[in-house]
Every structure is written in C-alpha cells, then in structure tokens.
C-alpha cells in the first residue's frame, strides 16, 4: 500500500533513451495500467520502480519517501514477470513460499505453510503444490507467479504483461479473474500491457506511453473519448479508428468541412465552440477521426449516404469488421458477425460529423469533438 511518485525519471541504456523525463503520480491502492506498443519503455519503467534499474535522472518516491537509494529487495515491492521467472528447480510450493523464506521477510514454517495454502486456494492451484514449473501449464505458471507476489503484502504490486504468453481463451479468462482478484491484492498495482482490452478492462487509470514518454494519463473514458492525439486514438479501440483528411471551407458565412472521400460539403454545427476554434485555427487542413462503430452503413440507397463498395469482411467471432472503399479511401466499420456479404457489392455509408474527433493535421494533437455528451473531462496531460 503506497502512493508512487515518479518524478522526471530518465533512463538510458548506452545511447538509447528508454525513459525520457517521465512523471507519474499513482494513487494509493490504485490499479494503474501502463499501456503502449512494444518497445515503448513500459517494462523499463516497471523495473525502475522495482529498483532493478537505477534511473540516470529523476526520483522514484513511495509515500513521499525517495527510493532511489533503496535496493530492490528492500523496497517491499512484488513483481509478476512477463516470463513468470519461476525457479525451475523448486516446486510450486517452494516458489510461492520463496519470499517468506528470504531473510528479509522470514516467517516460521507454520506460517509459511498456512500462507502458501491460503494463496494457493485463492488462486485455485492447491492441487499443484508438489509440481515443478515445467510440469504445469502457462496459465498455472502465471498464477504461481501471482501467488509468489501476493503471499506477502507488498507496498506496490508490479505486473509485467502477465497475460501476454497465454492463448486467447485463457487470456480472456485470466483477465476477468484478475479483475476479480483486484480487490484482494490490497496494494497499489502497476500493470504493464500492450493489449487494449486489458488496459481498459483492468485499469482505474491508464497511462499511455510511447518511445519513453508519457503521452496521456486518464481513465478509460478519457483516453477513449478524448485521446490526446492520433497515436492514442489509434491505440485505444478495436478495430482502429479511421483518420480522414478534412478541409475547412467557409461559404456565405457558414462553415463546412470537406472530407477527402466526399464531394459535398458537410456543414458544421453553428454556435458550437469547436466550430469557432476550427474557424480561428491557423490552417484549414484537419484530420478527422471516426470510430468504426460511429460509421453507419446500409445496402439500400439512402439519402445523404455515400456510395462505396465492400472491400473486405473480417469476422472476429462476436462481431466483424467491414472495410468499405469510398473513392480511394478505406473506412472500417463494425458489422454483426453473421452478416452475409459479398465483396465489391455497393454499400452506402454515413459518418456523422458530430461523432468525429478533430485533430491538428501537423501535430496530430486533438482539437476537439462535437460529441459533447461524451466529453466529461479532458485527459490530463503530463
């Protein structure tokens, strides 16, 4: 149980900068997710918090206490590693008991036995205690690794992509398991993932990290509805957001936006602060993002809808992604999984401008959206 502060942390490996002036403030007992693509520095940040790496610059504080000079074993953190890092020559029982046998957290045998069995039954691995790590499945290994981490009450529980090496079915199962377990961890959890579903389903707050820098920190709604830039918008959401070029046109005192695939001009709502912002912007070129689920489609002609053709249909099990080709633009939209559709047939789509996210075409930063109801708080910038 600790509040974790990361202040101006920079970590370099030789000439590469893995973490670039990172600042985070993680609340006590929060389930905090570090989310980003591979190689973004997520694991490095986790290792820096654990004390495995020392940052070249900056401070790591637990409850206001500077931890830079405290080594990994004395920080009282626990960690679940991506590759589980179980001791291969020790049984599941000994693996889980390991922290309580160390000189630092030493307990008598009776306590160890009681605690190991408590944790094992919690994680439903009580039948495996005598096995060696190579005799159990990946999902079970993962639970053993969690067991080893939660057998004592660490100040911070660090989890490094614990679900990454599980097969899809097990991953979904373990994700909901983890969510249930969240309450019993009773400590601050920092969870690293590159999986968007894990990030939004588990995280109280999510930090998006790219190339060693924190891009945005926010709740799942904040990062979904007000992504700070196109990178965040593309990272959050499955299938990926459609980003389309748009040009602002002013005619007879009304502002229109011309989208790249559409001949006609789309009027922008009057008296909306965003319209005003867009009009006063120093460029006419914008990027407009449409989430696939906000793009409507029909196979019958409909007034105001754009004609295109079905380019691809990819079933994802419980839903499907329909890729529509309009002119030279490809748009992804969501469809029911049981839709029967032939390729190249005509389709009519509509992307309501009120659902669009407007980005600066140069910096790719978010300017705003007309979807007022969803904007219930701006993503904090750090």
């Amino acid at each position: 149980m600790a509040q974790v502060e990361i202040i101006n942390v920079t970590k370099r490996f030789g000439k590469t900068t893995a973490l670039d002036n990172v600042n985070l403030d993680i609340k006590d007992n929060e389930f905090f997710v570090l989310f980003g693509p591979a190689g973004a520095g997520k694991t490095t940040l986790l290792n820096t918090i654990a004390g495995i790496y020392l940052p070249e610059e900056g401070m790591v504080k637990f409850d206001g206490e500077v931890m830079n000079q405290v080594d990994a074993s004395h920080r009282n953190v626990a960690m679940v590693f991506e590759n589980y890092a179980l001791y291969p020559n020790q049984t599941v029982y000994e693996n889980i008991a390991s922290p309580l046998r160390s000189p630092l957290y030493k307990q008598d045998n009776e306590t160890i036995d009681r605690e190991v069995r408590r944790v094992a039954s919690l994680l439903r691995i009580d039948g495996l205690l005598d096995r060696l790590p190579h005799q159990i499945s990946n999902g079970q290994k993962q639970r053993v690794a969690i067991g080893r981490a939660i057998i004592r009450t660490p100040r911070v529980l660090l989890m490094d992509e614990p679900l990454a090496h599980l097969d899809a079915k097990l991953r979904n199962y373990m994700r909901s398991e983890l969510k249930e377990m969240q309450s019993m961890f009773e400590s601050t959890v920092i969870y690293v993932t590159h999986d968007y579903l894990e990030a939004i389903s588990l995280g109280d707050r999510i930090a998006i990290i790219k190339e060693g820098k924190i891009v945005q920190v926010g709740t799942r709604d904040e990062i979904y509805y007000t992504p700070r830039n196109e990178f965040v918008a593309a990272l959050v959401g499955e299938p990926e957001i459609n980003i389309i070029d748009g040009t602002l046109v002013k005619e007879n005192g009304t502002s229109y936006i011309k989208l790249e695939m559409k001949e006609e001009l789309v009027p922008l709502p009057d008296n909306h602060p965003l319209t005003k912002t867009l009009c006063e912007y120093d460029t006419n070129e914008f990027h407009v993002g449409f989430r696939p689920q906000s793009i409507d489609y029909t196979f019958e002609y409909k007034e105001g809808y754009l004609k295109g053709s079905v380019y691809n249909f990819e079933s994802l099990g419980n839903k499907a992604v329909l890729t529509v080709k309009v002119g030279d633009t490809f748009l992804r939209t969501l469809a029911p999984y049981d839709l029967r559709v032939q390729l190249d047939i005509d389709i009519y789509i509509d992307a309501p401008i009120t659902k669009g996210l407007f980005f600066d075409s140069q910096t790719t930063e978010l300017i705003g959206s007309y979807d007022d109801a969803k904007v219930n708080g701006n993503g904090t910038q750090e």
């Binding site: 074993s73 890092a85 001791y87 291969p88 630092l104 190579h134 080893r148």
Partner: protein, 273 residues
C-alpha cells in the same frame, strides 16, 4: 515391414558390437599384459600363466600410492581453485556488459590453444627462478591453463541460459545478491558445474607435459611415474600396464559419473513452456 525393422536392428547391433570391441580392445590388451610375467610377454598372446607379480611389484614395492596421492592433490586443488575463480568469472562474462568482453573470453579460451610443449620450457626456467619448481602450488597454478578455460566456458553457457528475471525475482523476494547466487542460481548451474569439474579433473589428471617438466622428486604424478618402468635395459611392460590401469581408474569412474550429469536442460523450460 517388421522383418525389415528386425534386420535394421540386427545390423545396428552388430556394428555397435564391432565398434565396442574396437574401442575397448586396447584396454583389454592392457589388462591382459598386466597379468603376464616378463618372460611370457612376447611369446604368448591369449594363453599364458596369469600372475599377480606385476601388481605386487608396482603397488607394494614402489611408491605408487604416493604418486597417486600427488596426482589427486594437484588435480583436485587445481579444480577447486578454478571453480573459486571461474564461477564468478563465468557469471560476469554471462551477465555483465563491459568493454572487450568477448576479447577477454577468447583470451581465456586461447589458453587451451597453445601447445603445452611450447610454453613448458620458459615456464620451467621461470619456476626454477621463483621457487615454484617441484611444488604443489606451482603445478596447481599451471594446471589452471587446463582447468580454468573449460570451467569458465561451460558455466558461462549455463549462466546465459538462466533468464535474468529469475535473479530479479529473487532480489524482489528479499534475497541479497549472495543469497540469490547461492540459493537460486547455483542449483540451476549444478549439472554444468559437476560435469565441467569432472572433465577438468580428468584433463588435469591425464596431463603429462607439465608435471614432467615442472616437478622433480618431491612431487610425481602417476602419468610421469609410469615412465619409471621404462628402465634403460628392459621395459617392464607388465608393470607399466598395472600403473596405467590404476592411473586410468579415476578417469573411467568419473566418466561414468559424468554421463548422468551431462544431460543438460535443467534450466531449459525454466520460464517458458
């Protein structure tokens, strides 16, 4: 189909038996002549009057066990010294990044390249000067050329196979670096440790050039002592055979022991499937 398999099996076994005869025949021959008297040495092959005279002469009437003890002391201590210095060195070469790391590793390996005969003469003169000639210390030291590279290179591979996360996990579990090393890493490298040590021991035991040149009358290893049976007038083949048979015993015993430990892979599957 079945008949074919049977045939293949028979051929396989016949070939293996031929190889076994081929490989074991010199040893068998050595045992054979160890039971022959000097008189029957050259005029009999398989049919002769067996005698224990050679065993009596070598084991009871010479200092054979002293040579055996010398060999044991020198080889064992050489391996222990190699382990004390080599295990940390192997760990460092596996886990730390430092300048010229590969060059250093290669230099260590290259000690094994130099023909012993090439370096032994200058070593002899140096040893004479600094008083290491004919001492345990001197031999143990020079044996490091044989034992150390082997131990470092085998164990480096073992350390590299252990994911660094295991060390991190143990640190986070509350172990100090030494405890991590002793309690978590050492058990994982044990197969390598055992097999490399035994192999190093055998190499040290079998060495002939170094003890021949660098030791005199104080310390005589079995390999050098075997020469004693080559007298200027006669060659006691029977006695030599006894000495050789006994001196090869540790090698044979350890080779049989190693077999079990040579099965690598304890640390494979350590962290993944």
């Amino acid at each position: 189909m079945k008949r074919r398999e049977l045939l293949i099996n028979i051929v396989k076994h016949v070939l293996l038996i031929i190889y076994a005869l081929f490989a074991l025949f010199p040893l068998f021959w050595m045992l054979l002549i160890s039971f022959k008297s000097d008189a029957q040495m050259f005029n009999t092959t398989f049919i002769f009057t067996p005698t224990l005279e050679n065993y009596d002469a070598v084991l009871l009437r010479t200092d054979y066990f002293r040579y055996f003890k010398d060999s044991l002391i020198v080889s064992t201590l050489a391996v222990i010294v190699s382990l004390l210095a080599g295990v940390p060195a192997a760990y460092a070469l596996a886990n730390y990044e430092f300048k010229k790391k590969e060059d250093l590793a290669f230099t260590i390996l290259s000690f094994r390249f130099a023909p012993e005969i090439l370096v032994v003469l200058p070593l002899f003169m140096i040893y004479q000067r600094i008083g290491l000639y004919d001492t345990y210390t001197g031999l143990i030291w020079v044996y490091q050329l044989i034992t150390m590279p082997l131990i470092i290179w085998v164990l480096r591979g073992y350390f590299e196979d252990i994911p660094i996360e295991i060390e991190h996990a143990a640190q986070i579990d509350g172990y100090t670096w030494w405890q991590v090393f002793l309690k978590k890493l050492l058990p994982l490298i044990r197969p390598g440790l055992v097999s490399a040590s035994l192999l190093a021991f055998i190499f040290a035991w079998n060495n002939f050039t170094f003890p021949l040149q660098l030791s005199g009358t104080n310390i005589e290893t079995v390999t050098v002592a075997s020469l004693k049976y080559l007298a200027s007038d006669t060659v006691h083949y029977g006695q030599m055979a006894v000495a050789a048979a006994f001196s090869s015993l540790p090698a044979v015993i350890f080779a049989l022991l190693i077999q079990k430990h040579l099965v690598r892979g304890l640390s494979f599957g350590a962290v993944k499937g």
